[in-house]
Amino acid sequence: MPDSSCYTLITGAASGIGRATAIRLSATRKLVLHDRDGQGLKETRRLCASPEGHQLWEFDLLEIDKLSQALAAFLVEKSLFVDSLVHCAGIVTILPVKAVTYRNVQEIMTVNFTSAVEIVSMLLKRKPNGGNLRNIVFISSIWSKFGARGHTLYSASKGALDAFMKGLAVELAPTVRVNSLVLGAVKTRMAEQALADPEIAARYRRDYLLGLGQPDYVADAVEFLLSDRARWITGQQIVVDGGRTVDMSLK
């Protein structure tokens, strides 16, 4: 018997925010866990509630021209529909802008932004997703709204994602709600390199009024946005940053 009930697709689910979100949602939803890291995916599934109820989709988002087809084939093969998407997959490139190459641009835009376009576009198609998409959450960043040295590409990629989110919210209402979570620094493997620098770690402790973020805090916000309790919220950049961007105190 093909299982035709609806799943939540989480990209970048092998680590960090994606993994924490998967573990949280696994108690109440059936999940498609996506990542390019197959080992990490298996570990995430092992940590989930009722592991056997979730599907793994291993795919490298950099293979962008094959993404649409691969996702369609996966849905057909597993006979499942996706009603919710959480796009957590993302990379960080820190470079002074004069050192930026077209390859850098292409890579970060592909993973952080273009892949979201391709996935949403495919999930909206009647074949194979049956018009089931209802909810989208993008993981964005406060670097989408503000600048930082060396972060031009990261800011641009998250800015593109947020602008896409707003357009989608309008185009897809009232059927699909679309929001993004604008996050401050969260303790993940991706942030480890920055946090290894004692100077940066000290500055973070000072700048984050509520302390550094944990992946769990993000999972809470994702769970809320996907739920009916957020039924009147769409097209929003919800800032979840421990107070990092509100503090205008003279230092």
């Binding site: 470079l95 002074p96 004069k98 050192a99 190459t101 040295r149 060396g150």
Partner: protein, 73 residues
């Protein structure tokens, strides 16, 4: 390694660098400058270095030799 010296000079915002130039003496050799240099040797020479591996490197010449040795390895 003339090409390496030219590319490094560009990153360090100077006309030229010498083998015995101290990296720390260039104002542009800050955290972003280091990242730019790491990206340059990756894309130009296929050599992957971390910023930690560069902490012991004091001169332009030492840097060039490190890159050269990694290319052969």
């Amino acid at each position: 390694m003339d090409e390496f010296y030219t590319k490094l000079a560009e990153i360090l915002e100077v006309d030229e660098v010498r083998e015995d130039s101290q990296l720390e003496s260039f104002p542009a050799w800050d955290s972003l400058g280091v990242l730019a240099a790491i990206a340059m040797i990756d894309s130009s020479y296929g050599v992957n270095l971390t910023s930690t591996e560069l902490t012991g490197v004091k001169t332009v010449g030492e840097f060039a030799r490190l890159v050269e040795s990694r290319r052969k390895a």
